[in-house]
Amino acid sequence: MSPEVETLVAILVATLRAGTPLVFAALGELVTEKSGVLNLGIEGMMLIGAVAGFIATVLTGCPFAGVVFAMLAGTLVSLLFGFLTLTLLTNQVATGLALTIFGIGLSAFVGLGYIGTPIQGLQPLAVPFLGEIPVLGPLLFRHDPLVYLSLALLAAVAWFLARTRAGLVLRAVGESHEAAHAIGYPVIAIRYLAVMFGGAMSGLAGAYLSLVYTPQWTENMTAGRGWIALALVVFATWRPARVLLGAYLFGGITIVGLHIQAAGFEASSHLLAMLPYLATILVLVLISRDATRIRLNAPAALGKPFHPDA
């Protein structure tokens, strides 16, 4: 293999890894938003998931336990969000922002003693024979299990929303909660489930960062990825396939930026750090200008509180 091909393969592999946490978080938010709930607390839930997964891995020595624990932690904080916004009918935007601030603070506090603690993170699978194939092997068969899980979940969510009756009900609740209530669907219960799924996915995204991507715990290690995931959902006009595209675009430009620096080009590191955020938003804005498509896919009841007796 020539060194150029080797570099390219390395960049593509790293792109998948950089994009995966965004796929998880954005998928969770997509389902939450499709049910009509806007949860701006992804960043906070990711941090809580990251620190919970990390601590659980340190304590048990098993990164899989860490993953499970991170999802549980994410679900738990999303339940708090659900209780506030769905039961107590607080403002979803304000509550989501508060959740992010809460998550940043709580994770920093809980994780204080774990900064710099070394762990054995989740290892890539080594598929025999297939993994040895040049180029294709490292590209397709030598990833960690969560990369495959993210793709499977993406397909599952796309299928669930488009093909199943439960997915249809979820979309209906997000489209018009009054109508869904009038024909007898439990709007609040469905929204709780969607919010909890979003929390579990954010927790998983956080765990990917602290157990696979880095793997270590540092304060505020999500570095705004929660917000990017949120933007991805909107700019992808609530379609799973476009979320994947956006996530990998973001991951790819992050990695290319690192390689540019490593190759010794003179460029401000701050500028390079900005680039993936800018490029992702730019591209997604450009491909989602069709107003009709947005109306068809956007949940019409997004962010609106629902009270059954009103």
Binding site: L168, R171, E175, S176, E178, A179, A182, R295, L296, N297
Partner: protein, 523 residues
């Protein structure tokens, strides 16, 4: 109870009523919506629930369907008492409901919408077949694969009805079903309902339209102020006697006089074309119309045919090329709402709270919003004594029932708020007044008062344009009538030269658009 038994096949034996209500009571904060309501619907009977807006009809049917829980009273289904039930359980029993505001999801297809309501509706292909079969059998053609946002209001109603029919209902509740239909569509709907009743399905038909109830229903329960005011056989009543049961007094009549022949041009639309802002909205195409001083022009049409875009283009909320809209003979298409008001335009929008008035502001402050021209502001400062005096003048002149001019706009009932907003505009003595759905949701008494105020303003020389869905109202007050359909406008005809039949045909889309409306009226 003196309900005559209808000629239904299974009513020869003294079968229990399909539905019986005993002493249903429902209280909302500040309002007693239903008080001790008794009601019986026999199998195969078309039973009317008659009452004004706010009489408690909608609350009662929501209780029957299980959307709202009653505070007291009991409900019997085929003789057996029903505890508290959910809409899903109601559907399971065989109660189907067609809501006034359709419970449809715009971004889903017809089949998906129906699947949401049917148990085991997972297989969309099989369901599409059943939909086609049922819609064919009852003369309700719809395409299962179309998205709901692309359907007309009449088609949407068909979706709701087919959705109910697929569940083999024993009782079908129709809440104000004809308020959105053209006269032709109303006839077809009645045929479907009569056929259903003939097959033994009971129908509870809610309306405030007396002619329809007399044509369709075998018995009627009349509600007034949340209570049953009468039970009767509407076929044996006159519209006058039914109206008296409904509002407790005689219907007020408007005074009228002939308009002058050739007034000055107040508003002219010259080939107004405008793309809809909303992707599901209707584009305006080449609209031509003239409104002169001293006349009322009515625009009829089923909602969703471009009325919103037209009203926005008239008020100035949306701009058009200058020459396409003329006010007082001068181009005004490019002007915003404030500049148009300075030229003598006054506008009463459809939504009272939010566009017509600011809900959380007092009546006095709301009066200031459009009355600022009348010397209420000097050097950029508000002159509160004038503002309050003006608001008080409006309240007095239009008999607005409110807790004083310091009351918040949202605290007023729909009819009183409408009287206030209309009064605020009329007392400005505008050269041109544009009204959107002026008596929508307003009780009969207030509606008559509003119509009289509009006619009086016309008699003082203003040009008036009324956009409404209520044909009776338009025929009562308009000097000329035009119809808007699919974003085009028909020629405006003198009211006395046309009739409900012709306008009904136009509403169904059968007209040649006005090509060039010259200075003379099209006759």
């Amino acid at each position: 109870m003196t309900d005559p038994m209808p000629p239904a096949p299974d009513s020869t034996v003294a079968a229990p009523p399909r539905l019986e209500l005993r002493g249903i009571t429902k209280r909302y904060p500040g309002v007693l919506a239903n008080e001790g309501i008794d009601l019986r619907v026999a199998p195969g009977e078309i039973h009317a629930l008659l009452g004004e807006n706010g009489a408690g009809k909608s609350t009662l049917v929501k209780i029957i369907y299980g959307v709202v829980k009653a505070d007291a009273g009991e409900m019997l289904w085929q003789g057996a008492p029903l505890g508290s039930h959910t809409p899903a359980q109601a559907r399971h029993l065989g109660i189907g409901m067609v809501f006034q505001h359709f419970n449809l999801f715009d971004t889903l297809t017809v089949a998906e919408n129906i699947a949401l309501c049917i148990e085991g509706g997972g297989d969309l292909k099989a369901l599409a077949g059943r939909i086609a079969e049922v819609s064919g059998r009852y003369g309700l053609p719809i395409d299962p694969l179309r998205h709901v946002h692309g359907l007309s209001v009449g088609e949407r109603q068909r979706v709701e009805i087919v959705r109910c029919l697929l569940q083999d209902p024993k009782l079908l509740i129709m809440d104000e079903p004809t308020s959105v239909l053209t006269p032709l569509e109303v006839e077809k709907l009645f045929e479907t309902l009569r056929r259903l009743a003939g097959e033994g399905c009971s129908i509870l038909y809610i309306s405030h339209k007396l002619d329809e109830i007399r044509a369709l229903c075998q018995s009627a329960t009349v509600l007034r102020g949340g209570r049953v005011s009468a039970d009767c056989d509407p076929r044996e009543e006159t519209p006058k006697s039914l109206a008296e049961m409904m509002i407790g007094r005689e219907l007020p009549v408007c005074r009228h006089r002939e308009p002058p022949e050739d007034g000055a041009e107040r508003l002219a639309l010259d080939g107004l074309s405008l793309a809809a802002e909303d992707p599901f909205g209707t584009d305006l195409r080449d609209i031509r119309l003239t409104v002169r001083a001293g006349e009322i022009v009515g625009i009829a049409g089923v909602a969703g045919n471009g009325q919103n875009a037209l009203l926005a283009a008239l008020s100035g909320e949306r701009r058009a090329p200058p020459g396409q809209v003329r006010l007082g003979g001068r181009p005004a298409g490019h002007l915003g709402p404030r500049a148009r008001r300075a030229r003598g335009l006054a506008f009463v929008p459809e939504e009272r709270l939010g566009r017509g008035a600011v809900p959380g502001m007092t009546l006095a402050d709301n009066a200031l919003l459009t009355g600022y021209q009348k010397g209420m502001v000097r050097h950029g400062l508000v002159r509160f004594e004038r503002t309050r005096a003006y608001a008080q003048e409006v309240v007095d002149a239009f008999k607005v029932v409110c807790g004083g001019i310091g009351a918040e706009a949202r605290s007023l009932s729909g009819g009183n708020l409408q009287k206030f907003i209309l009064g605020r505009e009329i007392l400005l003595e505008p050269a041109l007044l544009i009204l959107a759905y002026p008596t929508w949701g307003v009780d009969v008494g207030a509606a008559a008062q509003i119509r009289q105020a509009v006619i009086d303003l016309r008699d003082r020389g203003a040009g008036i344009l009324v956009v409404s869905e209520e044909l009776e109202e338009l025929f009562e007050i308009s000097d000329r009538i035009a119809v808007i359909g699919k974003g085009r406008l028909s020629p405006a005809k003198r009211t006395r030269d046309t009739g409900v039949e012709e306008v009904g045909r136009w509403m169904a889309g059968m007209f040649a658009p006005a090509l060039d409306e010259g200075p003379k009226h099209v006759a």
